[in-house]
Amino acid sequence: MKSRLKIPTVAACVLLLSVLVARDGYAQGAKLRLDHLDRLAAKATEAVNVNLDESMVQQASAMGGKEPDAKTQQVLQGLKGVYVRSFEFSAAGAYTDEDVEAIRAQVKAPGWSQIVSVREKGELVEVYSWKDGSASGGLAIIAAEERELTVVNLIGRINIAQLGALGGQLGIPLIPNGK
């Protein structure tokens, strides 16, 4: 009798644990862990570290004034998080393959799908999308160049054409709509 009681209890515990683990994984969703890259800032000649959660993004999109302009505000309105790590180094070899692989391993999780991957001359640029149901729920960009490493993680509704169009403000050619 005693052993009969134990088996369902253990099974219930295992079930509860697996539900909690799955829930935790789901809660992480489109948000990537980028903390391990922070140590690279000490080696970098230029480092950008952006950590904006939903309330901060809403605050930024609600601000008046010259910036953010209408296009940027439009992109910001759909977002729930903006996380960026970008490093420029004076010499090659400042970051390791493991640094990049740690990010790539996260975007192999269910929900993520690769949109594009370009590898040339030892450089890698990959774009991943995270689906929240049928809608876009997140975006990840990994750009690993010889002296530069950039990881962008956007959470929320993202229109890639709109986001790409912001580049036009920097003198970079625009991504044509619908591509």
Binding site: V48, V50, N51, L52, M56, V57, Q59, A60, S61, M63, E67, P68, T72, V75, L76, V82, Y83, V84, S86, V116, V118, E120, V125, V127, L139, I141, A143, T150, V152, L154, I160, L163, G164, A165, L166, G167, Q169, L170, I172, P173, L174, I175, K179
Partner: protein
């Protein structure tokens, strides 16, 4: 010896002139009267102190409110700049990958 005598004479006890004590007492009394502040003047002084304290508190409060406002504005500006920087980097990288794809597809077409 002569110096000693002169010192003794100079330091010897002398009786004060007649009425000296009375004159000193009268002078002390008159000084006390002039130092005492009339009631109206005391009121004016306390009102002045009150106003000074109120002004100090008001200036402190206004400074604190202004400082908090400036801090809030600075935080909001930092958040806005971070958001714009983040999106510009994302946009630049998207355009970079787009250019790479275009270049590679052009190269492939030439090779064919």
């Amino acid at each position: 010896m002569r110096l000693e005598e002169e010192l003794r004479r100079a330091l010897s006890r002398e009786r004060p002139p007649d009425g000296f004590a009375g004159r000193v007492a009268a002078r002390i009394a008159s000084a006390g009267q002039s130092a005492a502040m009339p009631a109206s003047r005391r009121r004016t002084a306390s009102v002045g102190w009150g106003m000074a304290m109120a002004a100090t508190i008001a200036i402190g409060t206004v400074s604190s409110v202004y400082y908090n406002h400036r801090r809030h504005v600075a935080d909001a500006e930092r958040v806005r700049n971070d958001a714009v920087t983040g999106l510009r980097i994302a946009s630049a990288k998207l355009n970079d990958v787009h250019e790479r794809l275009l270049r590679l597809s052009t190269q492939n077409e030439r090779m064919r």
